[in-house]
């Protein structure tokens, strides 16, 4: 079996700050990490490798420093890593990104046929969840998004059964290889890289593919040119016209009471709504409790 895992290097968004006066992004010192959702995808691929001896190849499209993210994946146990990088790819939106990744995956498939492609459900910087579906459609593979669990995988019969998070429940889907799976968070727990893994990753070669390496000839489909969407404007959040009312109080208790008084004075219906809501909850609780009482 051959499994590809598509990852992205992202800024650790928890550490991005906006300058309060100039409203600019302060990127200095913000570390780059592997998109956390992609690690669930990598872990799932590595579990299949552990069970079946599959080959796992990680890929990313990004600038040269993204190599570091690929090395991280190698240290966890991926077999090969490919960095797809070329100046013409920059400024890509999700459609142009899926074009490049699908082209690279086709090239990879010629080297060793692919059975599964994993990726995270979305990235933490773009949050779009669009690249996974884009790859599947472009390659004509089955698309299985928001997968929380792989129940069965039978490479010989080219068959798999997965649990997929749907609205209001879990869909159990039977599908066929090759497939693109976007993994939901929390379905597994990422392993730690061990010492031998880290040494191996440091020595291992990360392949660098430019447009030729990825088999791309049509440059109208990549980068800014291949992107139907464009950012027209970036702006900071606007403060509300009415500033927050500062609640005063010498002690926390005084401040709390002053707030509660003010709140119910400003929103006169709120008290009645809150009481009705609490009554309703109490009613539900007693409703649930009744059958237990009967059985006791």
């Amino acid at each position: 079996m051959h499994i590809a895992v598509c990852i992205k290097q992202v800024p650790d968004s928890a550490q991005i700050r906006v300058h309060p006066v100039t409203n600019t992004i302060m990127r200095q010192g913000v570390p780059a990490i592997v998109n956390p959702f992609d690690l669930f995808a990598l872990e799932e691929a590595l579990r299949i490798k552990d069970a079946t001896g599959a080959t796992v190849t990680v890929l990313t499209m990004g600038p040269p420093p993204a190599e570091e993210a690929l090395r991280k994946c190698l240290s966890f146990g991926a077999d090969h890593a490919i960095l797809i990088t070329d100046k013409v790819f920059s400024g890509a939106d999700t459609l142009a990104t899926s074009f490049v990744l699908a082209s690279a995956l086709r090239t990879l498939n010629e080297r060793q046929p692919l059975d599964l492609i994993f990726t995270g459900k979305q990235t933490i910087d773009g949050d779009t969840a669009q690249v996974g579906p884009g790859i599947a459609i472009r390659l004509g593979y089955q698309l299985l998004t928001y997968v929380s669990k792989i129940r069965e995988l039978d490479p010989a019969a080219r068959r798999l059964v997965v649990e997929r998070r749907a609205e209001g429940g879990v869909q159990v889907l039977q599908s066929a290889l090759p497939a693109v799976i976007t993994m939901l968070e929390g379905g597994n727990e990422m392993r730690f890289a061990d010492m031998p893994g880290m040494f191996r990753a440091a020595r291992q070669e990360v392949e660098i593919w430019n447009r030729d390496g990825a088999g791309i000839t049509d440059l109208t489909q990549v980068g800014l040119k291949g992107s139907p969407t464009a950012v027209a404007q970036v702006f900071g959040p606007k403060p509300k016209a009415v500033k927050a009312q500062r609640i005063e109080g010498a002690t926390p208790a005084e401040m709390a009471e002053a707030f509660v008084d003010k709140l119910f004075a400003d929103f006169p219906q709120l008290e009645g709504e809150l009481l009705a809501h609490l009554d309703q909850l109490a009613g539900q609780d007693s409703g649930l409790a009744a059958p237990q009482g009967e059985s006791a």
Binding site: S13, V18, P133, A166, F235, M255, F264
Partner: protein, 373 residues
């Protein structure tokens, strides 16, 4: 690094030249999402927004309804009319009875190519995002995910889609340059639910579906509905108390739960608090979590980054507790409680308990008066 800062100045608007073949694309469409006989409310919320866009453009508002041959699917057409749709493109087939990526992607692609909408809106749900990302690829058109604002550009009548960017620290406006339809997804509860008006009429255009079951690879073999009880029902809660990293320690979340209990409120959390593993990801409020519209939202130890703000600023009343008087959350909260959340949460709990007990006593007295009369 040469550029420590990306200046958030308005970027010069990219040039848009729409190819001739797209100029005839018109009307605003909303994809109606339904599963097991239930319409996702986001579809009706989108009709509310879609109505405004269609009126601005002077065009019709249409729904695309795909589904099985059961009468419930047909009933959705009239329901869509009540929420503002003028026109319905209806595609019914047993093969479409359950949502599957392949069948719905083929169906939507056929409808769009046949009837050519200018704008296509979908809910940013598991189903809507799965479908939107696929259909945008088959159509090779632009798609903007998780929009929090949709407007028409008065200069050229194109769609302006706003969403948070840079991990939710700033907002951006995205345009679709030279392709149609202009696609966007919007998360549930971001747009207000429009009023339901009965008696509106709707034109229906039925379109056949081309695939047979034998051609469909993926089969739905089971559906396990969520047990309602054990999951937080944040999106539809009227009262929410949320905690963030300002609570300093995961154990301190207990103080959030204690206040929530008095109010019968759901407990929410900021992204950093969820990422730190302090609470369940189901409780996350914000761009990458749930969008909420409660009557009262109390935020304790949450700084108010854009990505949190877009998930809760639809609340009727927002009270924020933060030690930092300059925290961004005070820019959009109604009430600023500047102080230590660990002290203020129990103080609020006591104050609400006292107030509610007094209100109960008044209720009781009024009921007695009623009885005496």
């Amino acid at each position: 690094m040469s550029d420590d800062t990306d200046i958030a100045k308005p970027i010069k608007k990219p040039k848009r030249v729409l190819p001739e073949r797209f100029k005839s694309y018109k009307n605003v469409w909303v994809f109606v999402e339904h599963e097991h006989g239930h319409v996702h409310p986001v579809s009706w919320e989108l009709l509310g927004k879609g109505r405004k866009l269609a009126d601005t453009l002077g065009c019709e508002l249409a729904v695309a309804i795909l589904g099985g041959t059961a009468p419930e699917v047909r009933a959705l057409v009239d329901e869509a009319a009540c929420y503002g749709a003028d026109l319905c493109y209806l595609m019914q087939s047993d093969v479409l009875a359950d949502y599957r990526n392949q069948t719905y992607t083929v169906g939507m692609t056929e409808l769009v190519n046949a009837y050519q909408p200018e704008i296509l809106l979908l809910g940013a749900t598991a189903q809507g995002r799965d479908l939107a990302g696929s259909v945008a690829t088959t159509l090779l058109t632009g798609l903007t995910a998780d929009c929090t604002g949709l407007e028409i550009d008065p200069s050229d009548k194109s769609l302006l889609s706003s969403r948070p960017t840079f991990g939710g620290s700033l907002m951006c406006t995205i345009v679709n340059l030279a392709t149609r339809p202009q696609m966007a997804t919007v998360r549930p509860r971001v747009m207000p639910m429009p009023a339901r008006q009965s008696g509106r009429t709707i034109r229906v255009i039925e379109h056949p579906f081309s695939l047979v079951e034998e051609a469909v690879v993926t089969k739905v073999i089971d559906f396990i509905p969520d047990a309602r009880a054990d999951k937080p029902q944040l999106a539809f809660a009227d009262f929410i108390v949320s905690g963030g990293r300002g609570l300093a320690k995961p154990e301190n979340f207990a103080k959030v739960f204690a206040l929530a209990k008095v109010l019968g409120a759901e407990v929410g959390a900021s992204r950093p608090a969820v990422h730190a593993g302090w609470t369940d990801p189901e409780r996350q409020v914000g761009q990458s979590g749930k969008t909420v519209r409660p009557k009262l939202y109390i935020a304790a130890g949450i700084s108010g980054a854009v990505q949190h703000r877009v998930g809760m600023e639809g609340a009727d009343a927002i009270a924020a507790i933060n030690v930092d008087a300059n925290a961004p959350i005070f820019d959009f909260a109604n009430y600023a409680l500047v102080g230590n959340a660990l002290e203020l949460l129990p103080a609020l709990q006591a104050a609400f308990e006292k107030r509610l007990a007094a209100a109960r006593a008044r209720q009781g007295a009024a009921a007695q008066d009623e009885g005496a009369r």
